[in-house]
Symmetry: C2
Subunit: 179 residues, 2 copies
DNA sequence: TACTGTTATGCAATTATATGCATAAGGAAC
DNA sequence: GTTCCTTATGCATATAATTGCATAACAGTA
């Protein structure tokens, strides 16, 4: 439903290869959308078949050949249409919360360990975001952000706020469990 | 991967029918795990076939017949095994953040409308949680929580903290966009 | 020279989810 | 009396996502 549009969004920003799109998913985009490389290549093939994208073949001598995809008018129309649709309901999936429900089969210390580990992961995420914030968005820089940079800033802020909430929860949860 | 274990968790707590499990997903469980009724019935059939669950058929005269599922020893072992596995990485999917990236195809006012709508949904969620918190977890009551109630409390707290973070983000985002 | 990592693509098979439709009986509302 | 809601189950099909495997050339390193 949406991976299609995520990819269209990326290629709309700039023509790209599957490899580059995969890199985006591994790096920045990965914080708010997850996709494997197989999924990406399959989706690109589908988008080409339905004429949302065109593909230019770029042979290379030293490295494997590239396929550079560009968005078509049809693709841009589809993207615009999707952007105007109302947001589908969020589908929450939080394994840790499920595990809490059957913790009588999981010793308290093991459970706390899992919460601890999840917290460390979030801390790592948060640190990365905070680093970006420091580097790219000083109070001075924030005054003169372009429209695009504003949007990137907002996205990063969500990463920060959610990671902080996760961390606050983990702390509280550990205290309550071990009280 | 996990729906299986979510269902095992629920039936481990108490033998249930597919209908009851679906109710759980629509209500409380829905806040941290989403599943449709078709998915649930199919998964129950699979779990029965693989002998994780047994099924007792309860004919009823006034209403459609029930199938009451109970967890088997094999099912409980499977659940315990899963509980001890380390958590898989979270797979983030946030459509709103994707949409922010291609906002040049979406007028600012429409974008803000979508953020506003998402915020209203979160506010509704938050209100429900806060209501539960007020009803069930007064300062006095919190002192004497059973192990299970503690876990339920922790889950609810996550709902509250995350919803608050979403709301804080939405407010900030709207301010930045409209500055 | 063999191993590891990066660039670059993909197929095949399976599993997980979603979409649409179907049945059936009781009760409440209009 | 017909329409809608709740209880209770499910099938068939379609789409999305994961898992495992495969290819290939170069570059660095041990």
């Amino acid at each position: 439903m949406s991976l299609k549009h995520v990819i269209l969004t990326l290629i709309h920003q700039a023509p790209s290869t599957g490899y580059e799109i995969n890199k985006s998913f591994e790096q920045k985009i990965g914080y708010f959308w997850h996709a494997s490389h197989q999924q990406v290549y399959q989706e690109l093939a589908k988008l080409k078949k339905t004429e949302m994208l065109t593909c230019e073949h770029k042979p290379q001598t030293d490295k494997p050949d590239k396929k550079i995809y560009s968005i078509t008018v049809k693709g841009r129309d589809e993207l615009r249409k999707w952007l105007h649709q109302s947001l589908p309901e969020k589908k929450y999936k939080d394994i840790l919360l499920v595990r809490l429900l059957s913790a009588d089969l999981l010793p308290l210390d093991k459970l706390c360990e899992q919460i601890q580990k999840a917290a460390e992961f979030e801390q790592h995420r948060l640190d990365e975001f905070l680093h970006i914030q420091k580097q790219c968005y000083s109070d001075e820089q924030k005054k003169y952000l372009s429209a695009l940079d504003k949007r990137l800033f907002i996205n990063m802020r969500k990463g920060i706020l959610l990671a902080e909430a996760e961390l606050a929860w983990a702390k509280e949860a550990l205290e309550t469990l071990q009280n």
